[in-house]
Symmetry: C2
Subunit: 373 residues, 2 copies
């Protein structure tokens, strides 16, 4: 096995598949990256932690074919630190030793037999869809922060993707808050699909779509019973699906409100952040008081002091007073991009919802904290 | 107590004195910042953790005089997050409550009685010196990383500043390595001075001199038996001195060598970093082999592999082979600014020294690792 590759290209490829390397595995080989050189095709990189698997193809000058697995930590560190020049990669296929040469640098690293590396599952997909990758990424970003950390309810640690003929919906909730986002579906499917994607899959997909320079392309999905496969910009991303039942979120979404507030997102975000500096440490609760033309935001921590902010709003409907977790507010205010957002309320014991001003494709819902709780 | 101050100015002052705030103190008041408003003078900020104390003066529009202590964490967070506008600071001197107003933001925080704040020690100094602050900072930076972390030998956790009629010398060592730097002394003194500055004092002084925009000014020092006071750019910085005996470092500095090597600092630094990626994990040892026109740098970790770099050098004297800690090399190569540095050797069991090519005002010494150790 022998090939020549430019250092920056090699490092770029390693960084992409690295996200799927197992950090602490009982199978040592999963802490490695699979590297295969194929004549006329290039270098094939694979990492697989059994939840996520990533494949990537690199252009390289292949002189001898072969495959080997190298420990990811050493490989990443070495290729990152090499000078920006041609790297000669030579593997002794009998003893699985790899020799890496670049200008005046030479490394010998022990590898593993490529045959022992677990192949990525083959997705015998019943459903195939195509969406613009940037839209898909935006949908993920608008909900991924609202997953649960509670491992005893695995379904809530992921996001429910439900697909019908018109739309692709993604929902996350930890039962105290819920985020819902929706994009158009132009692929035709013959029945509704409901799958739960792991939280880590949402995070890594978002990173990888971001890191790419050519985001105008489409992303394609292939969905089977236990796995989903994403293809975008020469990356193949395979994820296990979470088994289990996702709560019936539609039940929770309010279908009407008594109060609609238009507010500047950036001003609101800064004010909540300041007021939360003096909030009850355990729950970080702030009180929103909605008056005719302005909102008061208040907090009080008996041993420290109190804080008070005032912001202009546009009110439609009743005045209100509600206690909410400041962190839940700040999370969504950071992610949305709209200058003006809409807050809807029913009463102090009902959920508060945040929507975009323009369309109804996004709903964020926060359960109130009971006054005095 | 009542004053008006621009948010950015107030925050800048807080950031300067904050370095001397106690993070975990049995005296709660030391976790606060002392704020005094004096007519025609401005705002006086003080923090004091009993090892370091910092005073700073700020311009402000004083309306009523007074002094109070506020918890540093809350004060810093609040002033940092306020909009860039005028801040009205009002203290109720009876109940030690402070009201902070800025545009639509209002905070009430509980403070402490100013009288309870321990005054900074008065330095009845016998010795006063003046040096250009940037030179003093450079001297600190060249040695501060080589202090010891061993709290059972307090003297080694600091730096020995020894002053004679010609020069100010600063030395640090952990007994495995030593850093020595020297600047000119133009102040006349009637006897040699030897004091040990705490490691933390060296770090914070370096930061504060750096953060300042107007570095062309002089720094003045006033030294007493137990304390040292630095004045620079409106900052007063007081530090306790470490009691104890610093080892006789002059004994250790070699007065001759068998080998002199001129080497490119950046190339050497990158090569050592790469080779150390595959070095014995516990000690991070690399082998330097000095030949006629080049240096080989090698490492070997039996279960991972090995690494080898080659760099051009200019040799004067004998060829050599020596084992050293790669971290000790990288520390100094990061700090020096010279393109070319000089390495001097006696033999594989004697210390290796690194000097600047031009002058003899800097010496860095590393004890070798015994081969096979």
């Amino acid at each position: 096995m022998l090939f020549n590759i430019f250092q920056k290209d090699f490092y770029n490829g390693i960084q992409i598949v690295e996200k799927a390397v197992s950090s602490k595995s009982t199978m040592t080989i999963l802490t490695g990256i699979y590297i295969e050189a194929i004549l006329d095709k290039g270098i094939h990189l694979i990492a697989n932690n059994l939840e996520i698997g990533i494949e990537y193809w690199l252009d390289a000058e292949i002189k001898e074919e072969g495959a080997i697995v190298l420990p990811a930590v050493q490989l990443t560190n070495i290729i990152r630190e090499l000078p920006a020049a041609d790297v000669l990669f030579k593997a002794d296929m009998e003893h699985f030793n790899v020799n890496i040469n670049c200008l005046n640098s030479e490394f010998n690293i022990k590898g593993f037999e490529a045959d022992e590396f677990p192949q990525l599952p083959e997705i015998k997909g019943s459903y195939s869809l195509k969406v613009p990758s940037l839209n898909y990424k935006e949908m993920i970003d608008e909900v991924k922060f609202a997953t649960s950390n509670d491992q005893t309810q695995p379904a809530l640690t992921g996001g429910l993707m439900s697909i019908n003929d018109n739309s692709i919906n993604l929902v996350t909730t930890n039962t105290y808050r819920l985020a819902f986002s929706k994009i158009n579906n132009t692929s035709s499917i013959d029945q509704n699909i409901n799958v739960i994607l792991p939280g880590n899959t949402l995070n890594e997909l978002s990173h990888l779509i971001d890191n790419d320079n050519n985001n105008s392309e489409d992303l394609t999905m292939l969905i089977s019973e236990n796995y989903i496969r994403f293809n975008f910009n020469d990356i193949v991303f395979i994820s296990r699906l979470i088994e289990g039942k996702f709560p019936n979120y539609q039940q929770v979404l309010p279908d009407s409100s008594n109060t609609k507030v238009k507010i500047d997102r950036t001003e609101f975000s800064k004010a909540v952040k300041r007021v939360s500096l003096i909030a009850r440490h355990d729950t970080n609760v702030v009180t929103l008081i909605i008056n005719q033309n302005w909102m008061d935001i208040k907090s009080n921590k008996s041993d420290i002091g109190n804080a008070h902010e005032t912001i202009e709003i546009e009110l439609e409907g009743d005045t209100q007073k509600i206690d909410v977790d400041a962190n839940y507010l700040m999370d969504v205010l950071k992610v949305l991009k709209e200058d003006t957002i809409v807050i809807e309320l029913i009463g102090s014991l009902n959920p508060l919802t945040i929507k975009k001003q323009i369309n109804g494709d996004y709903i964020y819902l926060i359960m109130p904290v009971r006054p005095g709780a």
